[in-house]
């Protein structure tokens, strides 16, 4: 019993943290449904959590374990959605090669453009940081 209780305590704490994240999500869903129709809950949920954390009403340690668990096991939550592709067999039939080409080509474009743009943005940032330091 004595060796089990710390593990039980950790497990209960994890469930409680996941429960808290679910409550924030449900609040975000209500918010988009009744008040802010153009703000999707995927965005407002993060915003609510950030406001709670920013105001100090919720401490990050209260949510960290639950959040880490949800993000680590997120693959499990995708599976039913991925399987739903079975319903679209006719639409995909004979087009798999083209789809792969689109994904490979476009992903290469995204990666090259993003990396070069961010490198350039970093140089601009450094430039302004140095000129700020000279002024002060």
């Amino acid at each position: 019993m004595a060796s089990l209780s710390p593990r039980l305590y950790r497990f209960a704490r994890l469930l409680l943290q996941i429960g808290a994240l679910i409550v924030i999500w449900l609040a975000a869903v209500q918010l988009s449904e009744h008040w802010l129709h153009s703000l999707p809950p995927t965005v407002s949920g993060i915003a609510i959590a950030l406001v709670l954390l920013g105001l100090g009403l919720v401490k990050r340690e209260w949510l960290t374990d639950g959040a880490t668990w949800l993000l680590r096991e997120m693959l499990l939550f995708f599976i039913p959605v991925v399987i739903a592709v079975l319903q679209y067999r006719e639409l995909l039939d004979g087009k798999l090669l083209a789809i792969f080409l689109v994904i490979i080509g476009s992903t290469a474009c995204v990666m090259i453009a993003t990396a070069l743009a961010v490198d350039l943005a970093w140089r601009i940032e450094e430039h302004f940081r140095h000129s700020d330091e000279k002024q002060s």
Partner: protein, 227 residues
């Protein structure tokens, strides 16, 4: 009886996932990822047993429902690394805007070049962001959430391989640029790859991915009319 068969598929999904995750940890090959193997096995079983998707999803939809709370969990890394955002807000904004702009427009152009139907084009256009965001953005873009989810998964796997190869010859000097490349190009799968390479790269990758996802969800209704 219906409830029991629904619970059976739910339990089978969770058990297969747990088993394959263990196997993947022991043999970390990309094609052994639970996200490839588990849907492949389940789809084969459903097709062979002639079980319709609705019967599979009768209780399994509870798993998809957890994607919502999982997006709330993204607030934790944003809060934890807010000093990184404050310091590097400019390259982060540039990375997200360039990454998402190129993702949507290059996807649409490639689709038109190859003559893919508009239903696929719309679902493909959100493939660069993390799955929970893509599921929210796809219907607003005029696509299908389920197709978008599959394309997101393929993008992650393609991007993981492509990213390492591109960084072999691309003239980028900063870990900011390398992290943004993975976050914008290959969302969560890329972020895992970036984390293995370097901690700062991983942080930038996850911030880019989260901000890009939120931005796409917000902009999807306007982008849909635009492309």
């Amino acid at each position: 009886m219906n409830i029991l068969s629904g619970l059976f598929w739910l339990a089978l999904t969770v058990l297969l996932y747990a088993g394959m995750r263990g196997l993947h940890q022991r043999f970390p090959r990309p094609w052994l990822s639970p996200l490839i193997v588990v849907p492949a096995i389940l789809m084969a079983v459903l097709l062979l047993a002639r079980v319709p998707y609705a019967a599979y999803n009768a209780q399994s939809h509870w798993l998809s429902a957890m994607l919502g709370p999982a997006t709330v969990a993204f607030a934790i890394p944003i809060h934890e690394y807010r000093h990184v955002i404050r310091r590097h807000w400019f390259p982060l904004v540039i990375g997200v805007v360039v990454g998402m702009g190129v993702a949507v427009f290059s996807t649409v152009w490639f689709c038109r070049l190859l003559g893919l139907p508009e239903a696929l084009e719309r679902s493909l256009s959100v493939r660069s962001i993390s799955t929970p965001f893509a599921i929210a953005a796809a219907p607003q873009m005029g696509g299908q959430a389920e197709l978008a989810a599959v394309f997101v998964v393929i993008t992650g796997l393609v991007g993981m391989v492509l990213g390492e190869w591109l960084l072999g010859w691309l003239p980028v000097r900063t870990s900011l640029a390398r992290g943004a490349l993975f976050g914008a190009g290959a969302h969560a799968v890329g972020t895992v790859t970036a984390h293995k390479r370097d901690t700062e790269e991983g942080v930038i990758s996850s911030l880019t991915m989260i901000i890009a996802g939120m931005l796409m969800v917000l902009l999807a209704p306007w982008l849909a009319a635009w492309v």
